[in-house]
Symmetry: D2
Subunit: 115 residues, 4 copies
């Protein structure tokens, strides 16, 4: 893959990292904090792998495909957990993580088709 082909997925990863971290700090301020424990935990997990994946693509890592497969898996788990909550930051997070998972799958599916 070339630099340009990765660009859309890098953008999606950065947006997902941003939405996860925003939901993370917002959840820590919520009144119903106790019900958001798992959400806080998964938001951090997801922010970390999205940040890692963005860097991996930008240095054209030879391991982009397995890294993006992992990133998509964690994004989807994070979206599933956030879908159990009603806060606006949770809903924004679902949108960004699912968009990121989709962008990752586009690349991993293409790699599979060419294998």
């Amino acid at each position: 893959m070339t630099r340009i082909e990765y660009q859309q997925c890098i953008d999606a990863c950065v947006k997902s990292m941003d939405a996860c971290n925003y939901s993370y700090i917002s959840s820590l301020k919520e009144y119903d904090l106790a019900s958001l424990r798992e959400s806080i935990r998964l938001n951090r997990e997801c922010a970390d792998i999205c940040s890692f994946a963005a860097q991996a693509m930008s240095r054209q890592s030879p391991f982009v495909v397995p890294i993006l497969r992992l990133c998509a898996e964690i994004c989807e788990a994070c979206a599933a957990e956030n879908s159990r909550h009603v806060h606006t930051h949770c809903k924004e997070c679902i949108k960004a993580t699912l968009a990121c998972a989709e962008a990752c799958r586009l690349i991993t599916d293409a790699a599979l088709a060419h294998a």
Copy 2:
């Protein structure tokens, strides 16, 4: 600082990380590799701190100001080293790292003025 106020600096950090990593892998392919040793090393340093700074802003870290001060310092050192080389990827990297340093300084200077 609010989420919106950080957005421009997050974007600058991500662009700088991307340009540094692109220059890093491009340098590793160059014929004059031996003269690019220090450039390769600083490109990685700079990509890592830019990525770290972007995450820190997105989680509204209480340590954003010292983190961005460090990021600006490393960006400027990376730009200085790249200015000794003539490759297009080095020149693109200088532009992105200096823009990032400037975006970081905007925030750290504002914090100083309010202190």
Copy 3:
């Protein structure tokens, strides 16, 4: 600084990262979660910079001194916040973060003395 001279500080950073992350996940399970919001947040901050600092030393980064200065500052802030709580994992975290801060200061002070 040589590889051997950094080793003690790398070990202290890794132990601090480990203690912070353990306190982070333990706090998320506590009954008095609401009083631990700031502790959770600082534990993550501290784990992230300790991990970053350990890698920076292991690659003999030219920016080790300002990175360790930042790391010491965040470790001390994390210890101060954890000292407001009585859980065992908070107390273990204070010990590890203060030991890390001390190991960082040994290196940054030595650098200052040689400057």
Copy 4:
């Protein structure tokens, strides 16, 4: 898995990160730099995933198993590349990365057996 069960693998990841980064900076100083391009690149890849995996275990990430599977894969690729070179730092790196891969597989195999 508990904190104690992860400890051996965290140690192996940190040692592998350290050996990879040492081989990375040592390679950048070598006379036969041109033949070490791929080794430099994989050493950085491996250091980054080992650092990421160590943090993931220390925060008892729900994604430890796929993260360690990825880490083992990258460690083995890094060892294979380094086995093409004769420098002492390459040989030390092979040892540390293969030990890390083995420690990761112990956990991922155990998870598979319990699935």
